[in-house]
Symmetry: C2
Subunit: 438 residues, 2 copies
Amino acid sequence: MYDGLKGFRDFYPGEQSARRQVTDAIEDAAGRYGFREIATPALERTEMYVDKSGEEIVDELYAFEDKGGREVSLTPELTPTVARMVVAKGQELSKPIKWMSTRPFWRYEQVQQGRFREFYQTNIDIFGSSAPEADAEVLAVAADALTDLGLTADDFEFRVSHRDILGGLVRSLAADPETVDTEAAIRAVDKRAKVDDGEYFGLLSDAGLDRATAREFDDLITDVETVDDLDAVAEAGGADVEGAVENLRNVLAAADDLGAGEFCDVSLTTARGLDYYTGVVFECFDSTGEVSRSVFGGGRYDDLIESFDGQPTPAVGVAPGHAPLQLLCQRAGVWPEESLSTDYYVLSVGETRAKAAEIASGLRDLGHVVEGDVADRSFGAQLGYADSINAETVIVVGERDLANGEVTVKDMASGDETTAPVEEFPPESGRPTYEDYE
Amino acid sequence: MYDGLKGFRDFYPGEQSARRQVTDAIEDAAGRYGFREIATPALERTEMYVDKSGEEIVDELYAFEDKGGREVSLTPELTPTVARMVVAKGQELSKPIKWMSTRPFWRYEQVQQGRFREFYQTNIDIFGSSAPEADAEVLAVAADALTDLGLTADDFEFRVSHRDILGGLVRSLAADPETVDTEAAIRAVDKRAKVDDGEYFGLLSDAGLDRATAREFDDLITDVETVDDLDAVAEAGGADVEGAVENLRNVLAAADDLGAGEFCDVSLTTARGLDYYTGVVFECFDSTGEVSRSVFGGGRYDDLIESFDGQPTPAVGVAPGHAPLQLLCQRAGVWPEESLSTDYYVLSVGETRAKAAEIASGLRDLGHVVEGDVADRSFGAQLGYADSINAETVIVVGERDLANGEVTVKDMASGDETTAPVEEFPPESGRPTYEDYE
């Protein structure tokens, strides 16, 4: 009778159990690095996005006026909110601040494969460090999360770039550095793989690079395939670019120290779309190319906190989006099985409900997942239900068995069953199965 | 510079770690009964609430028109959404359906202690059973969750009532059952503790009960303090009430079988405000009365799925709200400590970053929470930070130690330190501490 909204998804238990495993893997990886969970509001003042996010995001806002006359928006991304939170606590927070959280965000955009209007991300950020080790840690957390999910270096790669290399090159190559729009040139690089050559060079031209310079710039950035190739770029770009190249090298070396080096490729054609990025930026891609769009990305945004009137606070982060990650995991065959699991079903037949409830409670006290009959159903219906929830063991509590001081322990995989003395069932610890009583 | 919105909260890591423990306790308790996690959208069509939720909820909706011209609302409660999901899958879902989920909801209401405009609930529901065991299981899950949190029978009580007892009494006592508005009378009972006598009896009068009948009705429901007291009610109410009394007794007996009996009190002055409730309803209260409002509630809503054009599907559920539960836990002194915990801090001094990173990675591979220096800081600053994150053990990786083939293992509680051979650190398993090397 009522439909859900386009681009908004209902997750039923099978799919949700797979999603939960993936979320847990990402959060556990971040947790091992000491990232701490925070929780944040779904609504913020619209002006925060108008001021701080790019135009693209503002066009897609779920914005409205609340009953108190405030202009509010469903949060389209987390970064402005965490920036607000860092500024609100100011000096109270010991640096570096390492936060993570998983939650939905909302953008009114075209719904397509792996892209929805309500989409889930785990945001992982470090505030208060400009050291390359911070960038490297963010890369290492992302790599650990993906390898924990079963993905390998054959499945994914982080294309790592540096905005100051791109910006520095643009300024040093331009005939007049004053007239070139560095941000626009970087946005052009971000669009490079998504538009045709004509449009790309048109965008570079709009940014203030003449045709020959644009070509030179593009040759320089596309020629870089390894760290060693950065020498040519440093040479062409002057002191600013040299510094950025060194920073990028240090980040990659630190990532290597943390075991994430094998997943990192230098790629100066990676730029990231959001305006607030500075320094190192990166995107995760499917190595086979089957998932064609970027799976997720991250990078430095050293100026954002200050732009919120906070103390200058360098920052770096990554935000795996769960829907594109699901596409990658499915392509690689490591998406968790979408099925339920149940340790026990306690089946009651005849006037044995009280005893069955007691046994179920006893098994739950041992920490197991236990279902019992809550619908007054027949033996066959209960057994069918036990099968539908993938119960490993069924405990049959029947009147005759109970009269003999026994319950039946049935292994659902084999169908084998045996009896156990009811006064000792369940035992005080452990996970009693057919094997224990056969 | 930017403020968060009134009634919307930012949760920083300390408080969030306590909230996470509480959420996990509730979800684990439900998980042991075989409730399966689902995930649901934050936006639904407004008409669903206008049609199905009470007027009170509709007045508080965050409703707006989206960019596609749809009238949408931030979800103020979960029940209509799960009803929609049950109907959407229809016969595909094996019954009983047992679902749970934790997430925020939104209502534009007056902000006060324990009540916010963005509030978190764990919804726990069973669809497809009218048996008393289903009601009892919902009570037992709630009781297990609260006792797992450390609350006892001295801390909380479930006041259990039955809408058909209340409705049946009203109809049997009324001079003319045709002219009495049963729903309005039940809403009056729900308001009983919140308004003065005059207003309460006025509401009963509006519902169609004359003064003497209203007094008789009120005497009957307030006289019930135990299960045995229900006899008088059954007698006064006729066949319908007798059936409802028997159902309530069966629910309480089944709750007793599951170990939840000690938390349940019969209380016919409990009614629940939402119109869609039928049958058994209950509310959880602080036994000491210090938290004065209902902590959370639940009950049967047997007609809702059918009203969504689904097959007739009885349902029962409970939805602990996290903010009022926090007040109860804090009153009882069982709210988890709001602090961070960290297994290791790996402190790097001098040119030892690569080795320190390797050791940190090794400890993380063992599953531990490990932080290292990501901000290029001094020995003292690193030790101060290690203290601020409550690191249990600090591994100092210094140049001199490394030259001797050692690292320093420092216990942060005692300040004691010793050395461990670096080629064996970390070991292949376990959780190495000062004691292992002293």
